[in-house]
C-alpha cells in the first residue's frame, strides 16, 4: 500500500517532535549534572546549561564527607528495605485469599479494601492517629501506614487468580496445606509479579518524603529526601514557619543542591535500565482487570 505524501511529511515531523520530547525530558537532569560539576561562579553568571563550566569536583567531596548526609542516606536504605519487605508480606497475605473464589465474604472484603482508594481519612486524622499510637519519630510512622497499596494489591490478586487451579488441587492431593501451597507452589510461580511489586514498593519507599517530613523531628532519623528538601527549601529547620521566606531561597548554592540531587537519584538511575521493563509489565498486568 502506497503511503500518501502528507503522511510521509507527518512522519518526518513526528520524529522531530518525539526527539524534542526526549530532549526536554532529559534536559533538567543533564542540567543538574552539569551544575554539579561546575564552579558556583559560573552557575551564578548563568553560564551553565548542558556542559559543566569551571570543572569542579570539590563539592562532591564536601557532601560525601558530611556525616549527616550518610546517616540520612543509610536511613533511606533501611526504610526502603524494611518497608518493601513489610509491603510484600502484607500484600501477599491479603491478595492470595482474595484471589480464591471459595473465600466467604470475598466480594465484601474486596469492596472494603477498594473503598479506601476513593475515600481516605485525610491528613489530620492520620496525623492524630500516628501520634496517638506513639509512632512519631520512629521508622514505623513511615513504613507501616504505606504498607499496602490497593492498586498493587489488585494487580497481585489478578495474577494469583490466573494461576491454574489444577496445580493447587494436585498439591492438596499430595497432602499440602494452604500455607504449603502458598509457599511451595504459588509464590515460586509468581516470581515475575513479586519482582514487579518489589520494585513498585521499593521505588515508592525510596522516593517517599512527606511522612518523614510530617513525623520526624530528629535529624538522625531523616531519610535523604528530607536532607535534600531542607536544602532546596533554604535549609531552615523543617517544621518551623513552614513555607520559606523568599530571601533564603538562594541561601545554599545551586552547585551544592545539584550535587545532592545527583547523589540522591543515582541509585534509581543505575538500576533504571534494568528494571523499567518490569514496571511496564506491572502496569499492563494491572490494566487487564481494573
Amino acid at each position: 500500500m502506497q503511503e500518501s505524501i502528507q503522511y510521509k511529511i507527518f512522519k518526518v515531523f513526528n520524529v522531530a517532535i518525539l526527539l524534542l520530547i526526549v530532549y526536554v525530558t532529559l534536559y533538567p537532569f543533564i542540567n543538574i549534572v552539569a551544575q554539579s560539576f561546575s564552579s558556583e561562579a559560573n552557575i551564578t553568571a548563568g553560564n551553565v546549561n548542558l556542559i559543566p563550566k569551571g570543572f569542579n569536583v570539590e563539592t562532591y567531596k564536601v557532601i560525601m564527607a558530611d556525616s549527616m548526609f550518610w546517616i540520612n542516606y543509610k536511613n533511606t536504605v533501611i526504610y526502603t528495605v524494611v518497608g518493601t519487605v513489610i509491603s510484600l508480606v502484607f500484600s501477599t497475605m491479603l491478595a492470595y485469599p482474595l484471589s480464591k473464589k471459595r473465600l466467604k465474604g470475598r466480594n465484601f472484603l474486596v469492596m472494603f479494601v477498594v473503598f479506601t482508594m476513593f475515600f481516605n481519612g485525610g491528613l489530620i486524622p492520620n496525623y492524630v492517629l500516628i501520634n496517638k499510637l506513639g509512632m512519631a519519630n520512629t521508622m514505623w510512622a513511615i513504613v507501616i501506614p504505606a504498607a499496602i497499596s490497593v492498586f498493587n494489591l489488585l494487580i497481585m490478586k489478578t495474577f494469583f487468580e490466573n494461576i491454574p487451579e489444577e496445580l493447587e488441587e494436585a498439591a492438596i492431593m499430595d497432602g499440602s496445606n494452604t500455607y504449603g501451597i502458598l509457599i511451595k507452589i504459588v509464590l515460586p510461580l509468581s516470581l515475575p509479579i513479586l519482582a514487579t511489586m518489589m520494585l513498585f514498593y521499593a521505588v515508592g519507599h525510596w522516593n517517599s518524603w512527606f511522612p518523614a517530613f510530617l513525623y520526624f523531628s530528629d535529624k538522625e532519623l531523616f531519610p535523604v529526601s528530607i536532607y535534600l528538601r531542607n536544602m532546596i527549601k533554604g535549609a531552615e529547620s523543617s517544621l518551623s514557619a513552614g513555607a520559606t521566606s523568599a530571601d533564603n531561597l538562594n541561601q545554599i548554592s545551586s552547585n551544592i543542591k545539584s550535587v545532592t540531587m545527583v547523589l540522591t537519584v543515582l541509585p534509581i538511575l543505575c538500576v533504571y535500565p534494568y528494571i523499567q521493563k518490569y514496571f511496564v509489565t506491572g502496569v499492563m498486568l494491572g490494566s487487564v482487570k481494573g
Binding site: T25, F29, G46, N107, G121, A246, V283, M284
Partner: protein, 335 residues
C-alpha cells in the same frame, strides 16, 4: 462485576444443593441453619486461608478506617493528647467557620483552577503522545523514546521540585533563554502569575511518558485487520486514527478519566508544598496545603479536618458521579 456476583452465587448455590441432596435434609429451618453451620465448617476446614487475612485486615481497620472515622473531629472539639475522636459535639461550628473564611475561598478557587488545567492539559497529553509513538514503525527508536519519557516518573517529588527550582532560578537555564530573547531575567518562583505555568509544565514533564503506557498497551490490542479493511475502503491514516484507533482506546480513556475525576481536587499537594512560598500563596495555595498549615502548623486540628473532609466528600461524589455517567453513556465503568 454483577455477572461475577451472580456466577459466584450460583456456584455456591449449586454446591449447596448437592450437599442438601446428600444429606437428605427436608425442613426449611434446617436449611437456613445448616447454611450457617456450613459456613462455619468451611472456615474451620479452611482456617489457614482465613488466618492469612488477619494482619492485613487489622492493618486496614487501624490505618485506613480509624482515620476515616477520625474525621468525626470535624464535628467535635479536639484536645491534643485527648481522644482521637474528640471530646464533645460542636455540630457544624467548624464548617461555618470556613464558610466565613476568605482564605478558604481563595484556596478553593486555586484548587479548582489547577484541577481544571490538569484535566484539560495533563490528562490528554499521554493520549496524544501514545498516538504519536504509535505512528513510529522503527521498534528501536520507539523503545528509546518511550524508555526516556518515563524516567522522570521515578524521581522523588523532592528531586523534581529541586530541578524545577534550579531551572527557573534567576541564573537557571530558562532565564538564560529568556534573557537571550528579552534581555531580562525574572524570579519566576516568586511571581504568582507564573506559578500555574510552572506547576502544569513540570507535571507534563513528569507524568506524560508514564501515563502513555496504558494507552500504548491498549493500542497494541487493536486488530490489524481493522486497519487493512479501512485501507481497502480508501481511508487514509488520519481517518484510520479517528475511526479505528481512538475508538479502540476509548474504554481505557474512560476508565482513566474516571480515576482522574475521583482525584480531581487532589492536585499534587506534595509538589505545591515544595514549590510555593508566601509570595505566591495568592495563586499557589490549595486546599491541601491550607489544611496542612491550619491543621498541623497552627494545630487547629478540628478546623483543618473540617476542610479536609469537605474536600474528600466532594472527591467521593465526583468519582461516583463520573462512574455513573460513564456507565450510562459509554458502557465502560470502574464498577
Amino acid at each position: 462485576m454483577i455477572a461475577k456476583l451472580v456466577k459466584a452465587y450460583s456456584v455456591v448455590k449449586g454446591e449447596f444443593n448437592v450437599q442438601e441432596l446428600a444429606k437428605n435434609t427436608t425442613t426449611q429451618v434446617t436449611v437456613t441453619e445448616s447454611k450457617w453451620i456450613r459456613a462455619k465448617k468451611l472456615i474451620q476446614k479452611d482456617w489457614q486461608l482465613y488466618s492469612l487475612l488477619f494482619l492485613p485486615i487489622i492493618y486496614f481497620v487501624i490505618f485506613k478506617y480509624i482515620p476515616m472515622f477520625g474525621n468525626i473531629i470535624a464535628f467535635r472539639r479536639f484536645i491534643p493528647g485527648g481522644s482521637i475522636f474528640g471530646e464533645e459535639w460542636v455540630g457544624f461550628y467548624y464548617f461555618q467557620m470556613f464558610l466565613n473564611d476568605p482564605t478558604f475561598f481563595l484556596v478553593m478557587k486555586n484548587t479548582l483552577i489547577l484541577a481544571v488545567l490538569l484535566l484539560v492539559i495533563t490528562f490528554p497529553a499521554p493520549i496524544i503522545f501514545a498516538l504519536l509513538l504509535n505512528e513510529v514503525r522503527k521498534k528501536g527508536f520507539k523503545r528509546f523514546v518511550q524508555t526516556t519519557s518515563y524516567l522522570p516518573h521515578f524521581f522523588s517529588m523532592v528531586v523534581v521540585a529541586g530541578m524545577v527550582l534550579e531551572l527557573v532560578a534567576l541564573n537557571g537555564s530558562i532565564n538564560n533563554l529568556v534573557e537571550f530573547f528579552t534581555g531580562n531575567r525574572y524570579s519566576f518562583i516568586q511571581l504568582p502569575e507564573w506559578f500555574r505555568t510552572i506547576f502544569i509544565s513540570s507535571d507534563l514533564w513528569q507524568t506524560t511518558g508514564w501515563g502513555a503506557i496504558l494507552y500504548l498497551a491498549a493500542l497494541t490490542g487493536i486488530s490489524e485487520e481493522l486497519y487493512e479493511a479501512a485501507k481497502i475502503d480508501g481511508a487514509n491514516r488520519w481517518k484510520q486514527t479517528i475511526h479505528i484507533t481512538i475508538p479502540g482506546i476509548l474504554p481505557t480513556i474512560v476508565v482513566l478519566l474516571i480515576l482522574n475525576i475521583g482525584n480531581f481536587l487532589n492536585v499534587g499537594f506534595e509538589k505545591v508544598l515544595l514549590l510555593y512560598n508566601p509570595l505566591t500563596y495568592e495563586t499557589a495555595d490549595v486546599i491541601a496545603t491550607y489544611v496542612y498549615r491550619i491543621g498541623i502548623q497552627s494545630a487547629s486540628f478540628s478546623y483543618g479536618t473540617a476542610i479536609g473532609l469537605f474536600e474528600s466528600i466532594i472527591g467521593l461524589i465526583l468519582v461516583f458521579g463520573a462512574n455513573y455517567l460513564s456507565r450510562k453513556i459509554t458502557d465502560s465503568s470502574l464498577w
